[in-house]
């Protein structure tokens, strides 16, 4: 599973750059690995929570990757999943507590999503597949890259859902300003509901695969 990275190389070598940029395209956690779908459906009705969620996942994933990578040689394989889970859960609680104390408004935005981070399969997936077998720095980059890949898809979905479902972007009434309501345009209430998020993910996957033939599985 794990891709070993050779030692003693520049901080942003070609290999390390791949760690960041691959997850945004051909190794995207959502559209290619189809992980983290549940939260992609839950937090994308509006752009703002989608962005806040992406940033929090990035913080937690990068930190968890580094911590697990530092501990990787001491972790007994038989309890590694539990160890990973404890690290993620502790980080998430810590992030939540710090936000509540110093960025109360952001913490109110996040509310239940903080809990959702723990259940995000991307986190466990990266810890297990990458951080367990690589040094801290590549693991950190891998965390950032995967969270960014996750975030991009979240933002794209949220953009369309908010625009078509509520007629706003960042709560700014775009459709109203364009005067579309006066010529009989109506918001599509279906876009706000989770099923349309799934269909949007499907469309993104379709577009991505038609552009990148490598991703199409052989029959």
């Amino acid at each position: 599973m794990s891709e070993e990275v050779k030692q003693k190389e520049p901080l942003f070598s070609a290999k390390n750059k791949k760690l960041i940029f691959n997850p945004m395209n051909k190794e995207n956690p959502i559209t290619v690995q189809v992980l983290g779908i549940c939260s992609a459906l839950a937090v994308t009705a509006k752009l703002e929570p989608a962005i806040v969620m992406s940033i929090s996942v990035m913080a937690v994933l990068a930190l968890a990757n580094v911590i697990i990578s530092v501990m990787r040689n001491t972790i007994p394989p038989r309890i590694r999943i539990i160890v990973q889970l404890v690290v993620i859960a502790a980080l998430v609680i810590l992030v939540d507590q710090v936000l509540k104390a110093f960025a109360y408004d952001v913490s109110k935005q996040l509310s239940v999503f903080v809990g959702l981070i723990i259940t995000n399969c991307i986190l466990m997936g990266r810890l297990e597949a990458f951080a367990m077998g690589n040094k801290p720095w590549p693991s950190f980059l891998d965390g950032i890259g995967n969270a960014a890949g996750y975030g991009i898809i979240l933002v794209i979905i949220a953009f369309f859902r908010e625009l078509l479902g509520s007629g706003t972007i960042f709560n700014y009434p775009v459709m109203e300003k364009l005067g579309l309501y006066s010529i009989g345009y109506k918001n599509n209430g279906m876009m706000i509901l989770p099923p349309m998020a799934l269909i949007t993910v499907g469309i993104i996957i379709w577009v991505q695969r038609s552009k990148n033939k490598e991703l199409i599985e052989e029959k």
Partner: protein
Amino acid sequence: MFTNRYIFTYAAILVIVVAAILSFAATVLKPYQERNVRTEKIMDILKSVNITADKKNAEELYNKYITEEKAITPEGEVVSIYKTGSKSFEKGDIRPFDINMKVELSKQAAIKSGKGKEKPVFPLYVCNHDNKTFYIIPLRGKGLWGPIWGNISLKDDFKTVYGVTFGHQGETPGLGAEIATEKFQSQFPGKTIFDDSYNFTSVEVVKGGAATLPSDKQIHGVDAISGGTITSKGVSAMLHDCLSNYVPYIKANLKK
């Protein structure tokens, strides 16, 4: 290979270290968190009478505009009066601001189901702004995913709504979460919670829109959020349940 002994020791140390870090963080951060919660409560109370406060001047504006805090039983008895100006109790010793609505509402539920005996008390804030008196009543209820809360301010006839604020813990963005928006809340001012002969009606959140009500009832209804039915019902129930606790007090204190 790792021995069983190593695994057990490893797990034990890991858990103890994590527990220590988390409890340390919780203890250190608690005062900051409590201050945030308190400031937010003040800002919400002030917002329901259309006074915008920020984090810095919240306390100051509160002491300026909120003149009295009262603790009231659902039977209409005033248990405690706290003057914010002189920071002293005129009656009783419970600071109404510190009353936890969640605790009081569960006391009330316990009495209803015959399990508890402790009597609940509810806070009422008296506000003086631009030489007019307003009464602010805090609200708390259930939404779809978690608690919802808010404040409602009444004009000095105890009947006309002056302003409302709502908050929620985790209602669906774009649906139930819309209760916290200006658009939803701006429907409330001018509605009445009593009819002309002071029978309690509350303000109902009506599915399909207040316009579907008979014309004499429209003054007691606002439009629900499409797609947010359960949250809308929760707001209705919250308004009804919380406001009804003040009805005996209001009836006893109406200007004849």
